[in-house]
Symmetry: C2
Subunit: 232 residues, 2 copies
Amino acid sequence: MNLPTALTLVEPLDRQTLGARAYAQLADLLISGRLAPGEKLSLRTAAEVLGVSIMPVREAVSRLVADKALEVAANRTVRVPVMSATQFRDLTKVRIAIEGHAAAEAARLRSDRNLASIATAEAAMRAESEVRTPDLPRAVELNKTFHFAVYEAAQSPILVEIIRALWLKAGPVINLDLRGNPDRLAKGEAIRFHADARKAIETGDADAAKTAIAADITSAANFILSRGGLTA
Amino acid sequence: MNLPTALTLVEPLDRQTLGARAYAQLADLLISGRLAPGEKLSLRTAAEVLGVSIMPVREAVSRLVADKALEVAANRTVRVPVMSATQFRDLTKVRIAIEGHAAAEAARLRSDRNLASIATAEAAMRAESEVRTPDLPRAVELNKTFHFAVYEAAQSPILVEIIRALWLKAGPVINLDLRGNPDRLAKGEAIRFHADARKAIETGDADAAKTAIAADITSAANFILSRGGLTA
DNA sequence: TGCCGTGATCTGTGATCACAGTTAGACTTG
DNA sequence: CAAGTCTAACTGTGATCACAGATCACGGCA
């Protein structure tokens, strides 16, 4: 098909469904820890806030329930799951295995573009941690950006998707605390582990990359567990 | 609350929503390969078949779309994704990493009950493969039972759930072929790898368990790739 | 013969309504 | 004052309707 030259410029306008946008918004709330474990979520009020009918919200919520990022209780109320310490430890173990594996693959397969985005993300987070009064929600966001820059470098869309689902579960537990507590960021552990991971990926050292990411996850998990907010 | 003794026997009747049941049915169709890649699925006709309105089907489908076990094309038709050979290789790599890890964990953490169910499942599949004209759909089902008996032994609900999602994607590609082609079953590779995996888990040899499962997955994937039914 | 408009019939998406079940609070009753 | 009861306002679930967009076959025109 040969087009008028003017039409070669137009690109297909992205027709996102309302349901998809509702999902993106809710997922972002969860992953960044702005929804607390146990918090209830009404379809109707959520719909009103988003300015749509409840249908798109229903689709978004049913997806998140499938991901176990939300749950519907027996009383038919939707809420963010409350995680027991046991469940949290299981989640952490799985994250170490899978995200560690992704980091190792990233060290093997990373492209130059990957290296650039990883370096940029690491620098941005380091910069934020060095100011006198860091913007904690922003630091949480930058942390996510760095990690996913690493995981993208593994060149495996399926792996990235799995990790995203894990973060959806971990977000409310981890980032809720981190958004309000400057201690861990101030301690600088995360910054150090990120630097280690970046260097390992740059030099192609898969084992070191895995170790650095595993240490970062472990460190954050221990911080959460030590705060003792989780049920037995 | 103290109850009349007679009431201690009653268990809460499971109030599954129609949506959940529709999801279970569709997921089973996918995982066992009874839905072919590229096959279209109409919400309305599916609803009619299941004897419900389209609402429960919509919920089920939106979940499966979130899992990427189904996809909605730009033309707004729902279908089973067609996987390129590249995507299939990625999926296989991820499966080897994650299911291999699960098998290794199973070798470490398995309980006696796990060992029993693994042994039972392995024997059932071996028996089926040894009859003159094996029931292939049944063999596919038994294969799944064995694998998940292994993964359950890793004592990690989250890991099992991730693997289930992977099988949802792989089912249409792998099991569609296996349901109709006796070659691979007759070759007896799967039976051998299963036996290796069982022994390794029984003796607590994590590395051997991982190797056996990885070999089983690789072997099946190579069989599919060699048949050349996937797009470039 | 080949091409393009056109209309009937599909598709999923979104809104709205109906319903059963739960919950919390005011009220009554002992 | 305490316990039970009833009502009103929620909850998610399911069904139904309305709609825009896609598809395809048919028919007219060049």
